[in-house]
Amino acid sequence: MLAKRAFEPDFLKRLDGLILGIKRARTARIGPRTLGRVQGIGIELENFKDYVEGDDLRFLDWNAVGRLDELFIRTFRAEREIEVTILIDTSASMALPAKDDKLGLALALGAALAYVGMNENDAVRLVAFGAHHGKTGLTQTQFHRRRESYLGLLPFVQKLKGEGAASLNRAVEQLLLARRQPGMVVLISDFLVAASDYETALTKLQAARNEVKVLHVMGERESTGTLAPGFYRMRDCESGQIREIVLGPQAAAACRAKVEQISRRLREFCAARSITYVAAFGAGNLDRIITQEFPRLGLVR
């Protein structure tokens, strides 16, 4: 399973230099205090630097001026406390096509982002929505704040399977019932639901003042429509609906067009609401997505 790769040392080593692209930092001190590596306003001295015009004179180190007669500005570590919720779609559709390992890709990406967040001592949790042991609803981890506890996510990741039907709106509603402080929500899904469903869900997340990131995960075969040609009785894994379809070049083209249509509409919706949208198509592109697409689209820096 691809998700295991997110716990391999060499993979994690690549993530060490990455920082979640959070647009705004909060200073409200609720909960345990953590130290971040971002310079800014804080109470813990970080370093000294030469005074340049325009620096805030409040941070001028007067003791140094008196002793050395030079102007130094004290810099502090910024105070950051943000909850990162990585909401992963684990419905039945994420398990298909099986060879695409779409769920593995989603979990690997989610775990990677969790690692990046934990690297910054952010409070990170993984939340899965789908069906688990026959019951639909949310399954989540506790908040992890230190990267040393990252491996504690592995059992959770390993036990997740693609089951049940997905409803992003309902999952978000359940998530918001906890009434936690606004944070960052990374929604990882294939978005093979009605547009109104994910649009409502994303709108609700934003309405709760969360910073929302969207990872659109698709399998390689699924996104390109490369299925063995033939006459099939196709069954929707979530709704159970059956349709007879002849697969061939034309069907593959139609499938690609449909994926593009879904992706474009989601991207446009996200763009209109300042939601970061990342298309993660193909499990084989995991490294490229993390190292190239995430930074390019501002999900990490």
């Binding site: 039945a92 559709s93 994420m94 398990a95 298909l96 096509p97 779409k102 294939d190 093979l192 399998g219 699924e222 429509g225 299925l227 033939g230 006459f231 099939y232 009785r233 196709m234 069954r235 929707d236 894994c237 979530e238 709704s239 609906q241 059956i242 349709r243 007879e244 379809i245 002849v246 697969l247 070049p249 034309q250 069907a251 139609a254 499938c255 067009a257 449909k258 994926v259 879904i262």
Partner: protein, 618 residues
């Protein structure tokens, strides 16, 4: 069509394998997908695929495998060569009495006719058929002809006759069919004693199953007022039967009774004595399979003076004949005389004259019976149409009763005279003399001088009283009875010719109501041969003559089915279409050519698809 190596059809299983592969490939597997949403834009198939709508490649592969399988199995065609000559088929029908037996709702002959018509219908148009029947004698009913309607009409016109089949008639029928390429024999049995030639072209269609039958074997009226009559009934079925018998005398019922007869048994019923003479008619009122032997006629002599003259040079013979005549009817007035003393009776008139070793045509008698006839030296020469008496033979043997009478075995009779019968006399019994010369033994007829019977054998030495030669006595008694019957009444066995006096054109009405016309010959006789049991009536300007035909034959009346084994001939009914000459021609080369063509077509199709695929990729 056939196969040289049918076992190699095993390779045809490859066709089944191909079809299984095809069906598996065509089966619609269920594919679970993440969402049907992705395939919303995919066009729905215009028509649901059907198993029968298969790829052309499949048909080509199927044709290839089929052609190869058939080639390996050695498929060949049986080609019918053009008939080199017209084929002739003889349809031989047994029309004896047993073929008239009813089984179900039709007779055995009906079944034979139906089978024959089926053969005619299935035969090639160029074939010719002839229709031959046999019973007492063989008859060519229709010569070989390709006219199917005429052949069918000839077949449909056949009717069973109340006579027994003779082996000689059967042999004659086969002779008539000897020119035919094949002969189809329709019979329920072969005549007793018939020999079947080892001919490959004869095929028997045995008709009929076991059927129950009762028959009146004999009827004796007795002497009115003196002795009882006797009727013998025989049961030919394998179960006990209880028939009802009725006996009439001149239209008045004199006896009616039911009697239980054990399986394959026989009973004698006594009746009377009759109060008066007349025509006695016995009939079985219980219906059975064969109607012809269910009635019988005889004549009881009337209580009138009946003068019989017995003339013989031998006193013993005169005495024996007188005993016989008196046994027939004790009321007969008998006069015995030696020929030299016959002049004293020159003006006397007799009803019946029995002349032994003597013949005087000028004797006044209504009926005459010549026994061992001898023309006196001073007699006038024979006129045309008269009985001709030839030389004597030291012995003769009665070998056959022609009139249907019973002859258990050939009887050596002693001395005889060879006679030549005029056309108006009918032979009753035949025999052989020294050197196997065939000669008439007994005959009867009538001309303007009255009835005339003749027995060719000598009765000296108490021949008529010899129990070992009782058939001779029976023959004599029957002759005397026939001659003693009233004028205009003839009681004969069916199948025998009867000459009855007539004037001009006569109308002969058969028992079934059909009638034919005949013209009296120069002797004022009409020759009738009753082939049905019952009453015939011959009407002419000269008056009405009645003929009562009795039928009984132990072999024919026994309707038990006995399988007949014959040499298996060529194919018969329904197989005439394949009887024409044919040749076997394997078509292996053709099949292999077809397979190669199909294989090349498949390759071309695949190549074409590949080229089209590459272009579309570009």
């Amino acid at each position: 069509m056939g196969f040289l190596n049918p076992l190699n059809l095993f390779y045809g299983l490859s066709l089944g394998l191909l079809i299984l592969i095809y069906l598996n490939a065509r089966s619609r597997s269920t594919l679970e997908v993440s969402s049907l949403m992705l395939f919303e834009e995919v066009e729905q198939p215009i028509a649901k695929p059907k198993l029968a709508r298969v790829d052309l490649l499949f048909w080509l592969e199927l044709a290839t495998l089929a052609a190869l399988s058939l080639a390996v199995a050695g498929l060949y065609l049986k080609l019918h060569a053009a008939p080199e000559r017209i084929r002739r088929h003889a349809l031989i029908f047994d029309t004896a009495a047993s073929m008239g037996a009813v089984e179900g709702n039709r007779t055995r002959l009906d079944q034979a006719q139906r089978d024959a018509l089926a053969i005619v219908s299935s035969a090639p148009a160029s074939d010719q058929f002839s229709v031959i029947t046999y019973a007492q004698e063989a008859t060519l009913r229709h010569a070989a002809s390709g006219d199917r309607s005429a052949i069918r009409a000839a077949i449909e016109s056949l009717a069973a006759e109340a006579v027994a089949a003779r082996p000689s008639a059967f042999a004659a029928a086969l002779m008539l069919a000897r020119e035919s390429d094949s002969a189809e024999l329709f019979a329920d049995r072969l005549p007793a004693g018939a020999t079947v030639p080892d001919s490959s072209h004869l095929r028997l269609h045995q008709i009929g199953t076991d059927a129950a039958n009762l028959a009146i074997v004999s009827l004796d009226s007795g002497v009115p007022g003196h002795t009882q009559g006797r009727c013998t009934i025989r049961n030919f079925s394998s179960q006990t039967r209880t028939p009802e018998l009725a006996i009439d005398c001149d239209g008045h019922e004199v006896y009616r009774s039911s009697v239980s007869i054990p399986a394959r048994g026989q009973v004698n019923l006594n009746f009377g004595p009759l109060a008066s003479g007349g025509l006695v008619h016995a009939r079985l009122l219980t219906s059975d399979a064969l109607e012809a032997d269910n009635q019988r006629w005889t004549y009881a002599t009337a209580n009138r003076a009946f003068h019989v003259l017995i003339v013989s040079p031998d006193a013993q013979v005169r005495d024996d004949l007188a005993r016989v005549v008196r046994a027939i009817d004790p009321n007969f007035e008998i006069t015995e005389i030696d020929p030299p003393h016959l002049n004293g009776l020159a003006d006397a008139h007799f009803d019946l004259a029995l002349m032994h070793d003597f013949y005087d045509p000028g004797l006044h008698a209504a009926s005459r019976l010549l026994i061992y006839p001898n023309r006196p030296p001073n007699a006038a020469p024979n006129r045309a149409g008269e009985l001709s008496i030839g030389k004597s033979v030291p012995y003769c043997e009665m070998s056959e009763r022609i009139d249907g009478g019973i002859l258990t075995r050939p009887i050596l009779l002693g001395a005889g005279r060879i006679i030549t019968l005029p056309i108006w006399m009918e032979p009753i019994a035949r025999g052989v003399g020294p050197g196997s010369v065939t000669m008439p033994i007994a005959a009867i007829g009538a001309n303007r001088d009255g009835r005339l019977g003749v027995l060719a054998f000598d009765v000296r030495g108490h021949l008529l009283l010899d129990p070992d030669r009782i058939d001779a006595l029976i023959l004599t008694v029957e002759m005397i009875k026939s001659l003693a019957a009233p004028q205009g009444l003839y009681i004969v066995s069916s199948g025998t010719y009867v000459s009855v006096p007539a004037t001009g054109r006569a109308r002969v009405q058969a028992p079934d109501g059909s009638s034919t016309s005949a013209v009296a010959d120069q002797w004022g006789q009409v020759r009738v041969r009753p082939l049905q049991a019952g009453r015939y009536q011959v009407s002419s300007a000269g008056g009405v003559q009645q003929i009562f035909a009795n039928y009984y034959d132990a072999d024919e009346s026994d309707l038990e089915s006995k399988p007949v084994t014959m040499h298996a001939g060529e194919p018969g009914a329904g197989e005439y279409a394949s009887i024409t000459s044919s040749s076997v021609r394997p078509i292996t080369l053709l099949l292999i050519t077809l397979a190669v063509l199909a294989f090349l077509s498949e390759s071309a199709l695949l190549a074409g698809r590949t080229i089209i695929g590459r272009r579309s990729d570009v």
